[in-house]
Amino acid sequence: MSELMGSLKMISNGSVLMYILKGVGFTIGIAFFAVVLGIIIGTVLALARNYCTKGWLNIFRYIATAYIEVFRNTPLMLWIFIGLVFFPSIEFSAEFTKFFELSRTEMAVLFKAIVALVLFTSSVIAEIVRGGLNSIPKGQFEAAYSQGFNFFQTLILIVLPQTFKNIVPTLLSQVITTIKDTSYIANIAIAELMGKTFQLIQIAPRYTGFTTQNVSDVFVLCGLACVIYFAINFTLSCVVRHMQKPKKRTAPAAAN
């Protein structure tokens, strides 16, 4: 019982709580960043895979297809490790790294992991966008052409707005997945929630007053991380479900 008290004492410690809270900030920030960049890259990939079908433009289609299939069929971990070894080290300015309270080497490692996450996420989002593009009826294109729109005008003014409107729920569930995927960054850097939880388990004896880690430390720390992840993701999935509820479904049915 005293072990449990020790573990609880640890997480009621202000600096430990602050440490975890900063991890939550990193988790949300990284996921948001990855999804936003992923939407941009993913849209380009999806358009290339879907519409580059003439002559030499086919090259772009092959590249986009290869990119999507390669990233979709290999684990994120692989890309994080590859990134760690092969991505260029960016020298961040001291003020920038100080803002995130990381050392410059930590920041460089974290940056590589984030790049890997962005590359991975963009391949998944590309397939989501492609699904959205394919769900737009051909008549939309034909109608736009008949009104004198050219291909790019049709795409930007007619097709893409409808596509994005349709895929918002799927994109939001991708945010949930990405938040969970950020935990893989813990393998190489200690910045986000998972990494900090892992780190705290290692150094738990410093705060609990015991000489070794106890089972209760694991339960309390992992439990807290679980609760935080759950709170964020469950809120998001409730939003997704709310959006997917059939709207005005009953009205046309009654009219029939």
């Binding site: 390669v70 069929n73 290999t74 997945t177 998972m194 892992f198 993701n233 997917q244 059939p246």
Partner: protein, 254 residues
Amino acid sequence: MFDAEKWGLVWTHRQTFIDGTISTLLMALFGLALAMAIGIVVGLMATSHTKPLRAIARVYVEIIQNTPVMLQALFLFYAVTFAGVKGFSALICGIIALGIYHGAYISEVIRTGIQSVPKGQSEAAYSQGFGQIATMAYIVLPQTIKIILPPMVNQVVNLIKNTSCMFLAGGAVDLISRTNAFAVGEGTGSAAGQGYIIGGVIFFVICFPLSMLASRWEKKLKARDVATVTVRKKPDDVTDAELDMIISGKGGES
């Protein structure tokens, strides 16, 4: 890249990659068996007429789907190890963690599959004197299998990709972790690029045919859906978007 010496280094350490592939496949195979068992039980619970069973299934699915698999694996491994259990290997822990995690996703696939069969079908079966179990076995499940196959295969791909979840807690057991151990290892570090290529290619060779199979089935299914859309009306408790997501396998990534 085409340095024969470096590729030679990979070849001399081929046992690393073979062992990694074997343990990744072992984890995936047993993890999948466990996930299927959990998924079928929980999926049936979620569609049963008993409220407490449905509630339990819901809570299980929500908790597991909304937390990362790495955290679950770490939790399981440390909780058991610090409790003083000897011989709890990372491989076994990985199998259990993957089974629990993907069991939740598979149960959702099965639930949506069952609910996509119109209620009239089971009502008709009941009126013909079929029992609840017989209705499930003869009427409902045979119809769901085609619908749930593509998302199920996608789950298998995700499961294989998630075998690397034990790295943090248990050390290098799976292919990716061992590839990384090779790539950062002393003496082999110079061939890191070649190592990653081999590891990645093995993964791709395992996962790509499965993904292709899933998307081919999915396309077939959609073509059939269009053909029958006028005949069959979907029940109200499954939304179009939900069914779409489940069919396309987007109803849950990794």
